[in-house]
């Protein structure tokens, strides 16, 4: 899902569809000052003021983009399940659930007594309508939520507290999908579906019709898109009530300003601290910097379109592995991330936890070995020291000189990362030039090309190498889907086209047994690693900071559950 959509170096915690944060239980690199909320006495009330670099652009689950919106919707709409601290699914609105023997029917038993903020009761009917509507228009108006209702045939509400969902195939990702599906008030939304295409649903802007009808831990008291949005605790919430009286989420266009306000005591919590600012923020009195294994990792993206015309030597995994030896990852981690990142070599990232293939070993920085490997491949150095690719059937002899696309929207310093890579490769006789699409979407167009068409197999011709990052989900399904042909011209950013891989992908998504699924997932990771369609550089540490006046902030789960805003309380 993602390529971080950020503006000019301002980082967001999470991106589209609320992922990120978290991390596997096995790799906590945290120095977090906060602890998870225990049964100790909790001080109620107070206003939690959060600074963020990402704003809420919409409260419509069928039409939103910024990650902050996804998080906000967790707080105001009901969801069936949610993650716990270890990324296991735990009850939210659904108290219990069971699966039929064939795995095609799921029955959820919902907590009773919930009500919408306009006083109307919250019932299973709302959930059934939301899911059915998402299925109905999944190719168009509600495409945004289509992935959450993958394989769903229909949903029904036999009574107010029971929801039955039927699938056409057994699915490994039912809970993952439903956990991210906000349930909407049917009585507000259904009248908007007038034209049979659902366009009224897509266009609806709840924030323009205050007071919004919500049924979460919070209601929205005030909304300023690029200013402050105020979440007010909802006393009628069916679940654990929020401790804070209200939460104010303020958008900042640059992190310096945000940090200045934290220092001035105008903020209690920053959802992301830039790497270069960690030192300064750590030095502030009464402020704790929270570190936890982040989801985001950065990588070198290789054009792996088997039909690419130019620089076909870069399709050779041996070449890419040799070049990978020229990347001084530790220096990148030290300089660019100020040490706040760890080595990783799987495309599902540390956040996948159980599903990460730990047998993959990061390629070691070794210029000599890299040089030897290239020498061995016959790419000899010319008089000026640069390597030359000998002529082949399709291409004339040419120097190993490539453009590397760097989007400006990285949340770390892409220019410097490039400098370090360039430095290493220069010692191997490979010349690279930095180009920029200027922004992430332009960069994306650069990768796929305007003529991209999966059915005709066109696209992915312009670029050779890009530097980019991913923010995977805890469940590896989506991340692994991005390399399939089905994602061509969409989220597939490498042009990788391997039917064997695609078959494995389909197989894992319907394998409900966790262990059996891991075997397949491991195999897929190995396959990608061997092909080197990505050379993963580093897994970021998620950095946030909070004032010591507040406790109970746990960014590890912040983006995945209602506890994000509901749990914190004054110390």
């Amino acid at each position: 899902m993602r390529r971080v959509l950020v503006v000019l170096g301002v980082a967001v915690t999470c991106t589209v569809l609320t992922a990120c944060g978290g991390g596997s239980a096995t790799t906590p690199t945290t120095s977090s000052g906060s602890t998870s909320p225990g049964p100790v006495a909790v001080k109620e009330g107070g206003i939690l003021r959060i600074g963020t670099g990402n704003y809420i652009d919409s409260f419509n689950p069928w039409n939103w983009i910024e990650s902050q919106s996804g998080m906000a919707m967790y707080e105001i709409y009901p969801a069936l399940v949610q993650y716990d601290h270890d990324f296991k699914f735990v009850p939210d609105w659904a108290q219990t659930w069971e699966t039929s023997a064939d795995g095609l029917t799921w029955t959820f038993h919902l907590q009773s007594g919930g009500q919408w903020s306009d006083g109307k009761p919250l019932t299973a009917d709302d959930a059934a309508w939301t899911i059915n509507t998402s299925v109905k228009y999944k190719d168009d108006a509600t495409a945004n939520a289509a992935v959450n209702v993958g394989h769903v045939v229909s949903a029904a509400a036999p009574d107010a507290n029971t929801l039955v969902i039927t699938y056409d195939k057994p699915s490994a990702t039912v809970l993952g999908g439903l956990g991210e599906m906000p349930i909407l008030p049917r009585h507000v939304w259904e009248p908007l579906d007038t034209d049979g295409k659902g366009s009224g649903l897509k266009k609806y802007r709840p924030e323009l019709h205050m007071p919004m009808v919500t049924a979460g831990a919070f209601t929205i008291a005030k909304y300023e898109k690029k200013g402050t949005t105020v979440f007010k605790a909802d006393p009628n919430f069916y679940g654990p009530k929020a401790h804070a009286q209200a939460v104010a989420l303020t958008f900042y266009t640059n992190p310096n300003a945000m940090i200045a306000d934290l220092k001035a005591g105008k903020l209690d919590y920053l959802d992301q601290v830039p790497f270069k600012a960690v030192k300064a923020v750590s030095a502030m009195p009464n402020v704790t910097v929270d570190k936890s294994a982040g989801a985001e990792f950065t990588d070198v993206t290789w054009n792996s379109n088997p039909k690419k015309k130019k620089h076909r030597e870069l399709l050779d995994p041996a070449v890419k592995k040799a070049l990978a030896m020229g990347i001084d990852r530790q220096r990148i981690i030290d300089v660019v991330f100020e040490g706040n990142a760890s080595l990783v070599d799987s495309v599902v990232g540390h956040v996948a936890g159980y599903f990460e293939n730990t047998n993959l070993v990061p390629t070691r920085f070794d210029i000599a070995a890299g040089n030897a490997a290239l020498d061995g491949l016959g790419y000899t150095r010319g008089a000026d020291g640069s390597r030359v690719v000998p002529a082949s059937a399709t291409e004339a002899a040419h120097p190993m000189a490539y453009d590397v696309m760097i989007p400006t929207s990285l949340d770390y310093d892409g220019d410097r990362t490039f400098q370090i890579i360039k430095d290493g490769w220069a010692q191997m006789g490979v010349k690279v030039t930095q180009v920029s699409g200027g922004d992430s979407t332009a960069g994306y167009a650069y990768e796929t090309g305007d003529n991209c068409d999966a059915t005709k197999g066109t696209g992915y011709e312009k670029f050779d190498i890009a530097l980019w990052d991913w923010v995977p989900y805890p469940d590896p399904d989506q991340q692994l889907s991005y390399m399939t042909k089905a994602q061509w011209c969409s989220w597939n950013d490498t042009g990788y086209d391997n039917p064997a891989y695609d078959a494995l992908y389909d197989q894992q998504s319907t394998t409900i047994d966790r262990t059996a699924r891991k075997v397949i997932v491991d195999q897929m990771q190995q396959m990608l690693f061997d092909a080197q369609i990505y050379t993963v550089i580093a897994n970021e540490v998620a950095l946030s900071a909070h004032s010591n006046a507040w406790v109970g902030i746990d960014q590890k789960v912040d983006a995945y559950s209602k506890t994000y805003l509901a749990a914190p309380h004054e110390a």
Binding site: A277, V335, E338, I406, D413, D415, F418, S436, G438
Partner: protein
Amino acid sequence: MKRRGPVLQAVLGEWQSRIGLAILFVTLIAAVFGQLLEPYGIDQQVGGTLDPPSSAHWLGTDGGGVDLVTLLIAGARVSLIVGFAGAAVAMVIGGLVGVLSGFFGGKTDAALMRVTDYFLVLPDVPLLIIVAAIWGRSLQNIVLIIGLIYWTSTARLIRAQVKSVRERVYVRRAQALGASNTRLIFRHIVPQIAPLLIANTVLMVAQAIFLETFITFLGLGDPSAISWGKLIENSFKDDAVLNGAWWAVVPPGLAVTIVILACTLVGQSMEDALNPRLRVGHLSVRRFRVRPALRERDGA
């Protein structure tokens, strides 16, 4: 007998422009011989990130641990190249349009000036962003963009000058003699407006350096070129302000300010020298003096 025009006199004679020239000269030296002067490599990590100034690194290090003195000298090179090249492009386009428009007048003039007018009202920042997005981020594109944005003012200035010089009697005399247009333009008109063109170019260099820092700050600069604008941008990206690292923030901006100031001082004194209307001032705080009467009359 060597002729020293009022312009040269102004440039060499006034202390402001002398200071300006000296600054430009020093910067030019730094730019040309920079590589010999740079103590370290521009990619070389020589210390921690944002280390404060020390005896080894007079201006400390930047967010990548690179010596800032080195970067500052390297920045002079790129900034001056961009400045001069950008100004040159503006001059060439603007000069050409201005000369054609001013010299031929009539329909040529009307058409060219209309185009200039439209360019003049185009908002430059969105325009440069769009153009940068189309062309991509590279030094030569920045130069072109600068030229594209600034040629209009030059064109208007040159046009006005050419128009007036064209009506000068000696040009008309040459015309009456049967001189061709080429001869009139290149022998009589261009040399006459050259000082102004040069003054304008010098001012334009300042503008170009200024715009480069701006473009770079917008993230549309050449990512691999170390210019002063890039250093300012880096200091911002590296959160130098937050870390109290003034040494990363102040020097590059100061360098830009000083060079722009120098260009402005030189350019302005040239322009002032060329503007006879500025030489007369009928209002002055000072007044004429009265000399004491002589005791005795000169008895000649």
